[in-house]
């Protein structure tokens, strides 16, 4: 493991690989193990989503990675180091942890909350303060405005952002998230997902994220692990393959109906062509902007602030009525992130009834406009596109009930990754045959 992660790590990835090696968790007083002989590789720098029915052991599996829950059997390996025996607190200081609603301490300011781990690691005050501001910028919160606020003075979405910033404070290679966006409204959730993808673009951490929302898994995940009771891995593959080639009936049922439309969640806004837009700034004379709109033959102008973040979207009619363009942001602006799925884009358009949406990239900078027609074209294309075979699928299998494969897998986990992938494929075939 250590060799593979050390030699094959492309530049830019700051994440570390994780290996769950024959991990079992039995809670006292329970007959069935909550996690049953799970072997699973989580590649460095990727987002791996855990999905499955409630109570199937997703949270337990996640918490065994940072040993908030101690495994009954098996090993946890992070970045090639066996961490099963090391001091749990030290281990957890090096792993980011995000829970639902952020889990912010209500009696501490945003800055204090974010600075907790750096403080424990002995950073000096100036360095912590600089880091806090940097992280607030990263999660799109103005440091000057938010650093000294208390959590209750923030909206749910803002709290969740601070939760992510806090988890990233000491720049850990691994980020664990347990239903992080479960407590916010759907629109905010989409934005937070977009932001997480933008952040991941910049940082390339290893992110393990539990969710009960399959669409979220498809949108965020490089890999999706679908669990059944006892953390039995039903399928561990790319979103494309899971949608296109479900490994079992359980997976099919779990995906649910409308798998065809779910293809929409596979295409991202950045993959389709965006339309240009006429851009104006606050303080400009509306007549000047209107002239540019007319010249370009467009119907609207996008007003951006000094950081190129869109704040208003003005029609010709509105421009005609205005004198000078104001700097007041329009709270109902239809905005999607560039990493958002076409599904999200469509939702946003439908909600705003604009028939189009503004697309923003890193740090909310304006990129262009996406309209319904673009989405429709993409659907037509994706229906004809073949499902790609995923190479280098990470290892994932349960060994609790398959003694033969168990020993094979344990030998293989030290050796070649490919052979284990084969074993996993065989195993999946066996299970299907057995059903």
């Amino acid at each position: 493991m250590s060799e593979t992660s050390a030699t094959t790590t492309p530049t830019g990835i700051t994440g570390a690989s994780i290996l769950l090696d024959h991990v079992t968790k039995r809670f006292p007083g329970q007959v069935k193990p909550a996690v049953d002989g799970l072997t699973m590789e989580i590649p460095a720098g990727k987002i791996v989503m855990f999905v499955g029915p409630s109570g199937c052991g997703k949270t337990t599996t996640l918490k065994m990675i940072n040993r908030l829950i101690e495994p009954t059997e098996g090993r946890i390996v992070v970045d090639g180091d066996d961490v099963t025996e090391m001091n749990g607190d030290t281990l957890r200081r090096g792993i980011g942890y995000v829970i639902q609603a952020g889990g912010l301490f209500p009696h501490m300011t945003v800055a204090t909350n974010i600075g907790i781990v750096p403080k424990m690691l002995g950073w000096d005050k100036a360095r912590i303060a600089a880091r806090v501001d940097e992280l607030l910028e990263l999660v799109s919160l103005d440091p000057a405005l938010y650093r000294d606020r208390y959590p209750k003075e923030l909206s749910g979405g803002q709290q969740q952002r601070v939760g992510v910033a806090r988890a990233l404070a000491a720049d850990p290679p691994v980020l664990l998230m347990d239903e992080p966006f479960g407590a916010v409204d759907p629109i905010t959730r989409l934005r937070l997902q977009d932001e997480l993808l933008n952040i991941q673009d910049e940082l390339q951490k290893t992110i393990v994220c539990v969710t009960h929302d399959f669409d979220e898994a498809v949108k965020l995940g490089d890999w999706i692990a679908i669990f059944n009771e006892g953390a039995q891995l039903e399928q561990y593959d790319t979103p494309e393959r899971i949608l296109g080639d479900p490994a079992s009936e359980f997976v099919e049922n779990f995906i649910g109906s409308g798998a065809g439309l779910k293809q929409l969640t596979l295409t991202r806004v950045e993959e389709v062509g965006l339309a240009e837009a006429v851009v104006g700034n606050p303080g400009e004379r509306a007549a000047d902007v209107l002239a540019r709109v007319a010249e370009a033959g467009h119907g609207h102008a996008v007003i951006v602030d000094d950081r190129r973040r869109p704040i208003q979207w003005l029609s010709r009619r509105k421009l005609g009525r205005l004198d000078v363009i104001s700097d007041v942001p329009d709270p109902k602006l239809p905005v999607v992130g560039i990493r958002a799925t076409l599904n999200d884009a469509l939702d946003t358009m439908l909600v705003s009834s604009a028939g189009a949406a503004l697309v923003t990239g890193r740090r909310d900078m304006f990129k262009g406009v996406i309209d319904v027609q673009t989405v429709m074209d993409a659907i037509t294309r994706s229906q004809t596109a073949a499902v790609l075979e995923s190479d280098q699928a990470p290892v994932g299998l349960n060994t609790g009930m398959f003694q033969v494969q168990a020993s094979a897998a344990s030998a293989a986990s030290a050796a070649s990754v490919d052979s284990v992938a084969e074993a996993a494929d065989e195993l999946a075939a066996d299970t299907r045959a057995a059903q």
Binding site: N66, L68, D89, T90, L91, R92, R93, G94, I95, Y97, I99, Q100, A101, G103, L104, F105, P106, H107, M108, T109, I116, V117, M120, S140, L141, D142, L145, Y146, R149, Y150, P151, K152, E153, L154, S155, G156, G157, Q158, R166, A167, L176, T188, R191, E195, D305, R309, P310, I311, P329, D330, P331, K332, L333, P334, V335, L358, T360, D364
Partner: protein, 278 residues
């Protein structure tokens, strides 16, 4: 207890602006409403203090205008009254110190993992015990261990331990388990979580328990006179024994006013020590 809503202090919840642009709807109105909110939260305290001062003045006027005998005059001499009051306070604070040293660590221990199973039964006992009247406890205990200084002290301390113990446990128990988990998940040790998360968040509830205990102790310290412990109780016993109504009433009123004053100080401390952001 502890249900005073102070949310008005800073009820700001900035919405998620669509474009991620921070908006601060409360900034403009905050300064106006803040002054009003501060007054609202202090209003009760100001009234309580005013009431206590008024009652003190009324007592003073009554004593100055009353027709007092020589015995009454000597018993109620300002220096003597002051002496009794100081003695009374000393007794109260000593007992309170003992109570805190016992109850807070015990409350913490009983809510930690190894003893967590004791939380519910102990709370039930504490609730029951607190409903029993103090004098009853003193008498029962006295019958059991005999009338002595130690019996009185023991029963008083036992009695006052209950609210502090109970509120320490409730205060710690009501801290959101997810916050504890978030703390541990960030790599804080169990002790660090206790001191930086659980105890600060339990402070409001704990302090109100301490206040209850102090008020109880002021009242029950009057019984110390039975065992020659001093304090304002002597005025009451003298008043009863010698049929000096003025002395009796003065003693009783002073105890009550002292209790109210201590209650007031407790409330002020609670108000000031309340963690910001709650």
């Amino acid at each position: 207890m502890n249900t005073r809503t102070l949310n008005a202090e800073a009820g700001i919840a900035g919405g998620d602006s669509a474009a991620g642009i921070p908006v601060d709807p409360a900034a403009s109105t905050a300064t106006v409403s803040r002054g009003r909110a501060i007054w609202a939260s202090w209003k009760g305290l100001v009234y309580q203090l005013a009431g206590i001062i008024l009652a003190c003045l009324a007592l003073l006027v009554w004593l100055l205008t009353a027709d007092l005998s020589t015995i009454e005059l000597t018993t109620l001499a300002p220096a003597a009254l002051w002496g009794y009051t100081v003695e009374h306070l000393q007794l109260t604070l000593l007992a309170a110190a003992i109570v805190l040293v016992i109850a807070i660590p015990l409350g913490i221990a009983l809510t930690r993992k190894p003893l967590r199973f004791l939380t519910a039964p102990v709370l039930a006992i504490a609730n029951f015990g607190q409903a029993a009247p103090a004098v009853g406890v003193v008498v029962l205990l006295a019958l059991w261990v005999g009338f002595s200084f130690w019996a009185a002290t023991l029963s008083l301390v036992l009695y006052a331990v209950l609210p502090v113990l109970r509120n320490t446990m409730i205060g710690l128990d009501q801290v959101d388990a997810r916050l504890v988990e978030a703390g541990r998940g960030m790599g804080m040790s169990a002790t660090a979580v206790l001191f930086t998360v659980e105890l600060p968040l339990a402070v409001p509830v704990m302090l109100s328990g301490v206040r209850t205990a102090l008020v109880l102790l002021v009242g029950t310290a009057a019984l110390a006179t039975f065992i020659n412990g001093g304090g304002l109780g002597i005025l009451i016993t003298t008043g009863v024994n010698l049929s000096l109504t003025t002395v009796l009433v003065t003693g009783a009123l002073l105890v009550a006013l002292l209790a109210l004053l201590i209650d007031w100080v407790g409330r002020v401390v609670e108000h000031v020590a309340r963690p910001k952001g709650l």
